[in-house]
Assembly symmetry: C2
Homo-oligomer: 307 residues x 2
């Protein structure tokens, strides 16, 4: 069993109401890999970086069981760079800088050694690139999870709709679900989106948790109430990594098992926001994860027998 992840590996500079960083390592595929590698190895990475990306970061990932054969290194260009500033509520942010750099030429090739993978995580990228990755697999992965964002809904809608028909799980936030469907009610939005291709829809609501829709079923996973949210960057990708990592580990893609996978994703995301970048994800142990999962059990567990 293996997971293939496609996405960015990049530098971020982040400013929150409480602190700020210079350039630190980020990118969707980085967060997914740090989260998923707690559950399954290998996590097969497909990405692109420039000459400035620290080799020690790639080695860190390798030591966690992340395969980096699919990470292209461009000798004469810089890595993708994003800079953003969070508002006081930590739910909204302004982008200050987006330097595409190597990402402008990203045309990922799936290494032969990655063929036969069962779980494919398509991080937020140009829809045409996401499609190209799917099409390069000679055997369709058992489960394909797609992330996207408002930018592609607005600028590459036809391509995106086409990718919808090729995936199993779509992962968006609440405003993107409303944008895709034209519905204010998330229940109505989900019904529409589930006719567009994906059999499962996950709607991320940040500090308000996440919803999983499948046929006429719905499941809700809360976010863990935290004293401090230090840096929300990468929380969605970390959620995705925990989700797909747990599914791959358990080799069970039923709705019932996806419920647990979403709780695992929420638990991983709750670590991510505790420090800048991937720092907290590098520190945590299996015991930390188990303990946090028990907190989720306590958070939502109730006894209805008496009603």
């Amino acid at each position: 069993m293996s997971i293939t992840v496609v996405g960015t590996m990049a530098f971020d500079a982040i400013e929150t109401p409480f602190d700020k960083t210079d350039k630190i390592v980020g990118g969707s595929a980085t967060y997914v890999a740090y989260a998923a590698s707690n559950f399954l190895k290998p996590v097969q990475q497909i990405s692109i970086v420039g000459y400035d990306f620290p080799l020690e970061e790639l080695n860190d990932l390798k030591s966690r069981g992340v395969a980096t054969e699919g990470v292209e290194i461009i000798a004469d260009k810089k890595s993708f760079f994003w800079s953003g500033k969070y508002h006081l509520d930590m739910n909204t942010r302004d982008t200050l800088v987006t330097d595409l750099n190597v990402l402008a030429d990203f045309n990922p090739r799936v290494p032969v050694s990655y063929q036969g993978c069962d779980f494919l995580m398509l991080g937020n990228l140009v829809p045409a690139i996401q499609r190209s990755v799917i099409e390069q697999f000679t055997k369709r992965p058992k489960l394909i999870v797609l992330d996207t964002m408002n930018f592609w809904i607005e600028t590459a809608w036809e391509d995106l709709k086409n990718v919808f028909t090729m995936v199993d799980v779509l992962l968006v936030n609440d405003s993107e679900a409303r944008q895709i469907s034209g519905e204010v009610s998330l229940v109505k939005a989900a019904k529409k989106i589930l006719t567009m291709g994906p059999k499962f829809l996950i709607v991320k609501k940040g500090e308000h948790g996440a919803l999983l829709f499948h046929e006429n079923n719905v499941f809700f996973a809360p976010a863990l109430p935290l004293e401090d949210v230090f840096d929300p960057t990468g929380a969605g990708d970390t959620f995705a990594g925990g989700f797909i990592g747990y599914l791959a580990k358990t080799e069970d893609i039923s709705f019932e098992n996806m419920k647990t996978a979403i709780i695992v994703g929420s638990a991983m995301a709750s670590f991510c926001v505790e420090k800048f970048g991937v720092q907290r994800l590098k520190e945590i142990s299996k015991e930390d994860i188990d303990e946090r999962l028990q907190q989720f059990v306590q958070l939502v567990n109730f006894d209805i027998a008496l009603v």
Copy 2:
């Protein structure tokens, strides 16, 4: 076992993005009574109405086991009237009209027949009136639940703080919890508020569910994802009625049982928003409630054994 409820019985005129009503029956004590009377009788009502309040409404409540001896009827004044208009998100609203009418003279007296009650629900009112009701009980109720709002936090803070020291459970929404504590983080807000008197704090987050804090424990109850929210008016009071009704029925005020009580409150609130005013609450049966509670079990239930 009995519940005493203090609050308004009133007329509302409501406008939503989808529909509007003329004057219909509303008021916090009305919603609490409709919800709580599904679980326990008698619900002992303390309120004030004018000559225009429909007797058939009082009779409807009586037929559900609501005692109305404590409802004062003023022969020469009109009932309290509120009119509001909801925004497109259905989470925020503008008040169009507030006619206090009889409420300007509300000085509630606890009837002798209500003495000895174990559960007291103090609906949103002037804090000094809430205190006066507590003080009229010769034996302190086993559990006192307090609702309040931003207006009293801003205009009667000293009185409100004093009432905090007399109650067991405080029920506020997220922005009120932040306002009371001066903390953005709800976890930090809860820690502060739990030093101010209440042993339990419930933070209502509307469509995003509710949190229960007690000592170092936290529990989260989701709102049921609905296709349509028709009218949110009274949802918070209906939640309170389900909560205290269930606690009174089970005669158990432990944290564990409060978890279930909050799910019951959320289930009752999910009915409330399906039609204007108390209409839906009048229609539902024991079977409807049981079925909805099962939906909540499905909504949050997961199996963590395999992680």
